[in-house]
Symmetry: C2
Subunit: 462 residues, 2 copies
């Protein structure tokens, strides 16, 4: 809020009062929450309270962040909350159109909100999530290459936060510098670095990255989207050890890079054969950029995808389900789970051929424990079931099936853009549908279990 | 083949020579296979050979059944094989149009092929599948209420086949009699009983069940589709004990009936509110019929679904993923797996709240073993992954995403009709796409693992 107020003075547009109002409102609400939760906070958290705390935090912060949007644009309450949650969860789906003519301070606020969201996510997934017994993240906790091994939540959060801040800020500044060198204005470079490193995907332009029509900028975005989708604990380790090799030694990062290359190659062949772009280099650049944008769940666009052959949507949707690495800002299922899922299924088939053999699943050289296997499979099943159920619910609000499905994909994978009716913005979605999608963003961002556990009647009973 | 030849003489149309040719061809091929496999057969089958045998049988029988279609209609080889595999797997997807004007003997052959396919499936899922270590069916084997507990494949198959034949024929005759009493001609009654009890869904009319415009017929179809989707071993037990209560005591059957009621009710509210049909009774009849038709994977139609609100497609797709009961002719995931999946996920969430508690999953009063839990989750994941990957592949052959997805749903769940471009037939699908879908039908019919295990390089290596 303070940042937004400062930004005002620099840009001198007429949104000062609105920011003051929202700031005051947020302050009052934050104060109430602080007083309410102060005693229960962090040191003595039980699993149940931690689960509830995480979900409610994202919702409350989403509502708080909505006030400037409500006051400055002509969006209603539902849409403003959606936009704010979309920023906070680094989804990047928008209900705004005509960004190019909006006040610059507001646009920067929106970018900054997503950057803050990204930081919040990194802290959540690195420090808090491994403590909760959800989604197989105890594995990550054991495997985390970061310096933090503390089992108490409060010291863990504060010490982790310190080093994550550092990595996050350094990456953002590097990204902004590269954008600026490639020809962006200072404002554009900062605004886009905020949403590249956070794999958020908001842009101050309706045309997203296509606005610049510059392949150097796409290439820079490629690199920093990938960096944003790699575990921040791994970044920290590699920074301190000055060991670039560490990335390739990490099984998760390695498979993400291999998958990016493979899917980009297929997409390139497909796009080039259909003559969407004439030149080979243009086709490669576009294919690579979109695969990285979707796989890291950033959601930047640089071309009119509706002019691409229909199957590209399928490939990009598949990429977005894969997601980035655990411990990063990326969404999707995460590569650690993809790798384990493939190995689990292969092991089950091998077991069908050799019923007597005792086969195990390995990750990073170690045998994966049975409860982790179950948790990973449970997570993947929840992804599939949530996709189907939310699509049906959304279709009931009046969207066609394809738009409903891609809207759900865009939200549960915290990706951003959909296809069909929701390819450029989410205005066609009804109010009920918008709330469903707001829920979907938090559901996907907090890795399903965190939110769904709250819906068990048993959760509240004893 | 003999049956088809006999049918010819009754109908006196000019397809005799074509049937004779196909019959001879089939005989020669069958003889070759028999000689080739005679020694390896049944008594000494290893898991690996059993898996390969099951998959190849369905493919070879699919090709054999295709000859009459190739000779009599103007379908090409690809389409004829698709139609035949569609019959054999009781899918009921068709590449034929203008059925109403085709020779009656051919139409009856097509219905009969599906009926035989249904019987083959029942024998496969009750006698053979539980012996293979795939998809959690060892659970079924332990829980099977049927009289067969033999562990040797050959005696098991022959003794099981005897009592399954009985149940299958009795249900078919009952169904035909009811249709006939409700006003169908003898030909129609027999032809439709063939594809109701087998939950196949082929009809000799382009209009499917809508051809008759008779709510009694829909109600009869409702009952017999449900009977075809209940475990045939359970039928046998209840027949011999004369205990109708046995159906409700079976957890799987009970949850299928509850789900049918619940989803029909939602669909009814939805259809009635949108004013698709004026009267309440008409709306109930149509909603119930379509939910049962999709959930049991029969795939009959009785109305122009494209005039229904878009969300109905979503509801029906969801129903078709659920499927019927294990040990029946129905496709989909099967209710035993749906029940276990819900319980496994709920248990994982409970575990997140109470990390120290030791929680188990129960089915039919007994604790479910860990390897069954893994196998069920593996199966469900394969359903989801296959859906996505096959949809993308199919979209690459030129279909739009929605048509591609619903075509895949229709084939892997052995349902039959899709939506969008493939709502009435599969003619719009390219040749490559048709082969992908033929593969998808066998994949879904043989419960994924059986087929996918063959694709492991390791399968062939040692
Ligand atoms: K995003
Ligand atoms: K069917």
């Amino acid at each position: 809020m303070v940042f937004a107020l400062l930004a005002l003075i620099v840009f001198k547009d007429k949104t000062v009062t609105q920011f003051v109002y929202s700031g005051l409102l947020s302050f009052v609400l934050a104060a109430i929450i602080y007083v309410r939760y102060h005693k229960a906070k962090l040191t003595k958290l039980f699993y149940r309270e931690a689960l509830a705390f995480a979900s409610f935090t994202w919702f409350v912060v989403g509502v708080l962040g909505a006030f400037p949007i409500l006051f400055i644009t002509d969006a209603g309450f539902t849409d403003a909350v959606f936009e704010s949650i979309s920023a906070m969860t680094t989804t990047g789906a928008t209900i705004l159109v005509g960004l190019d003519n909006m006040p610059k301070s507001f646009l920067l606020y929106r970018q900054f909100l997503q950057w803050m969201g990204g930081l919040g996510i990194v802290i959540f997934v690195v420090a808090i999530l491994p403590m909760l017994n959800v989604g197989g993240m105890r594995l990550l906790r054991a495997e985390t290459p970061g310096p933090i091994k503390n089992d108490k939540l409060a010291p863990r959060v504060s010490s982790t936060t310190r080093y994550l801040w550092l990595v996050y800020v350094v990456l953002t500044l590097l990204c902004a510098a590269c954008y600026w060198l490639a020809g962006m204005s200072g404002f554009d470079a900062l605004a886009h670095s905020f949403t590249t490193v956070s794999t958020g995907g908001f842009s101050p332009y309706d045309g997203s990255m296509g606005h610049f029509d510059n392949h150097w900028i796409l290439a820079i975005a490629d690199v920093f989207m990938l960096l944003g989708a790699i575990s921040f604990a791994l970044h920290y380790n590699n920074f301190t050890r000055r060991a670039l090799r560490g990335y390739w030694q990490d099984e998760e990062t390695r498979w993400m890079l291999i998958s990016v290359a493979a899917i980009s190659f297929i997409l390139f062949l497909f796009v080039f054969n259909h003559g969407v772009h004439d030149s080979v280099s243009e086709s490669i650049s576009q294919a690579l950029f979109h695969v990285i944008s979707f796989m890291t769940s950033t959601g930047y666009g640089a071309d009119d995808l509706s002019a691409w052959p229909a199957a590209t949507a399928g490939l990009l949707i598949m990429a977005s389900y894969m997601g980035g690495c655990a411990g990063s800002t990326a969404g999707g299922s995460k590569f650690i789970r993809n790798i384990l899922t493939v190995r689990i299924l292969r092991q089950q088939m091998m077991q069908a051929i050799h019923p007597q053999a005792i086969l195990t699943v390995r990750y990073q050289g170690k045998v994966v424990k049975n409860d982790v296997v179950l948790a990973v499979m449970g997570f993947m099943l929840l992804v599939a079931i949530s996709s189907l159920v939310l699509t049906v619910l959304l279709a009931m609000t009046g969207l066609d099936f394809y738009s409903a499905f891609t809207a759900v994909v865009a939200c549960i994978n915290v990706l951003g853009p959909g296809f069909g009716e929701v390819s450029s913005n989410f205005i066609p979605v009804s109010d009920t549908g918008t709330w469903i999608l707001s829920f979907a963003m938090i559901l996907g961002r907090l890795e399903y279990f965190t939110v769904l556990t709250l819906l068990l009647p048993k959760f509240w009973r004893d």
